[in-house]
Symmetry: C2
Subunit: 316 residues, 2 copies
């Protein structure tokens, strides 16, 4: 099979990779579409020290097991099912987990991938592949409302990129008072088209006026900027994962008694329900679509400022 592989911060397209060896409970899935995420770009910069086949956002067809022949999406944390965390329903924090395309497990940028069957969710027939491939990042966006109460809150989404547009729409399912703050007028226009009140960060008049600020910048300076927008006693949700160490001026966090909440993976079942109900608009989310053998180019394009979601299409 073919795959896009990361080794020592270099991404390579490999024509002939051996199909993976199955362990108990795992099934093979033929990948239909896979999405390139900011995390993939960070992995290439050394985040997590990952080596192997990249990719954790996908829709595919299960080759075997209870979903054989059906379209599936898959949760990315592969867990032990036995530890305290797993037994308490917090398997995403299982200390011996592997994570698809991120930690000690090959991912979805390949013709075929291996995944525990328990991680799979069947895609409803009414949800197209082009929408289903957003299940994983949409679940992560929905996770915010699982961690903090958003009802009646005035929320700012900081960041006008791929993650921002999913988070802003997911948050709007809980509160109408969602504002988007970004740096790029041309990217903010996309949010305006979806009916969001938008502001350029440098031109924002009323600072420290949001109950909740969600950092979707993907930038190491995002947290400090978010702390500058949130009210005293407010909440900053940190969605950004970046490689490396950062210098941040965090005195305002103490002075204003701000709460910062790290937020990662979310509920796939709810994300699929939202997609099935057509409750969020994904029009124009995909800026590029590449066949798998042009994956190296696809990764490069995904990192360009003008790009939005870039998909890999092993079937093409």
């Amino acid at each position: 099979m073919r795959a896009l592989s990361l080794q020592d911060s270099v991404v390579t397209f490999r024509e002939s990779v051996q199909e993976p060896h199955k362990c108990e409970g795992e099934v093979l899935v033929d990948v239909i579409l896979a999405g390139i995420c900011e995390t993939d770009l960070q992995l290439c910069k050394g985040y997590m020290g990952f080596s192997g086949i990249l990719g954790h956002e996908f829709v595919g067809v299960a080759r075997e097991g209870r979903y054989a022949g059906h379209r599936v999406v898959g949760e990315i944390n592969c867990i032990c099912e036995r530890c305290e965390w797993c037994l308490n329903g917090l398997g995403n924090h299982c200390p011996s987990r592997t994570v698809l395309g991120i930690l000690n497990r090959d991912g979805a940028f390949a013709d075929t991938m291996l995944i525990p069957e328990r991680n799979l969710h069947r895609v409803p027939d009414s949800v197209s592949n082009e929408r289903a491939v957003f299940t994983e990042p949409l679940a992560a966006a929905i996770q915010i409302s699982k961690q903090i109460d958003l009802v009646g809150k005035r929320v700012a989404v900081l960041g006008d990129g791929r993650l921002g547009i999913l988070c802003a729409q997911a948050i709007r399912l809980s509160t109408d008072a969602v504002v988007v703050v970004g740096k790029h007028p041309e990217k903010l226009a996309r949010f305006q088209g979806l009916g969001f009140e938008c502001y350029e960060l440098s031109k924002l008049d009323y600072r420290t006026s949001f109950d909740v600020v969600v950092d979707c910048t993907g930038s190491p300076t995002g947290l400090e900027a978010a702390c500058g927008l949130v009210k005293p006693r407010g909440v900053v949700v940190l969605k950004t994962t970046v490689a490396g160490e950062h210098q941040l001026s965090l005195a305002s966090l103490v002075i204003n008694e701000v709460t910062v909440v790290g937020s990662r993976c979310g509920p796939f079942d709810e994300a699929l329900s939202v997609l099935e109900a057509d409750a969020i608009d994904l029009t124009g989310m995909v800026s590029h679509r590449f066949p798998l053998e042009r994956g190296v180019e696809a990764m490069r394009v995904a990192a360009l400022p003008g790009s939005f979601k870039v998909l890999l299409d092993p079937q093409r």
Copy 2:
């Protein structure tokens, strides 16, 4: 009157300062004892850009008003009483506040100070001056239990200094499972003497095993160290305010979905009750006591690694 003043990061003892001009609602207080805090040392490094008379931990005697002739301690935030924050009982976050010896208001390192009468609390007769002077930092320590539920939690206090010993004891009022983690065996011995389980940070075997970690290090690296001790989904309480920037690898905060809570000032009434009930041990907390005219030396000594609480004694 005499005072210890900060200007352009230089502390000077001034023999002859004019007594401050009173505004409505303010009273003069003759200072009996004042404590030097890590925040004072940070102010000297440029934190908050403060100029003026330092000092926010004190016990004194009110010269006038309802507490005339009585011993008092005072809350440090001087508020407008009219804004949304003040009207909602969150005056500590009043955007137009001044803060005693920290923000646009002279402080307590002087013979006499000015403070809004509403900020004062009468010191119970059974509480000595040497204990009453700890009311402000003890209130800040008690604030942790006001912000997060500590009952039944396994808590690590990170930092073996002045703030750590107050926080550890205040937290023990809510949960028995308090561990102290520090860098200095000789300082940790003080905590052991109070019955705390203590660990050196470099020798700690079981990391990421605490439900709550309180950063009392006063160091820009404290937050990152705290994130390394806390369980996934756990809480880090940030008590440290430092001039300049924190060093932090943010990824673990997101991956482990950690919550960071900034924590500042606390309830004086509860702190005085704790002192009156003799519920915390302050034996040996004071390492040095200087007359006001040796204030410059006192500040230098307070910054030495071997020092604990340094008091200024304008009456001496």
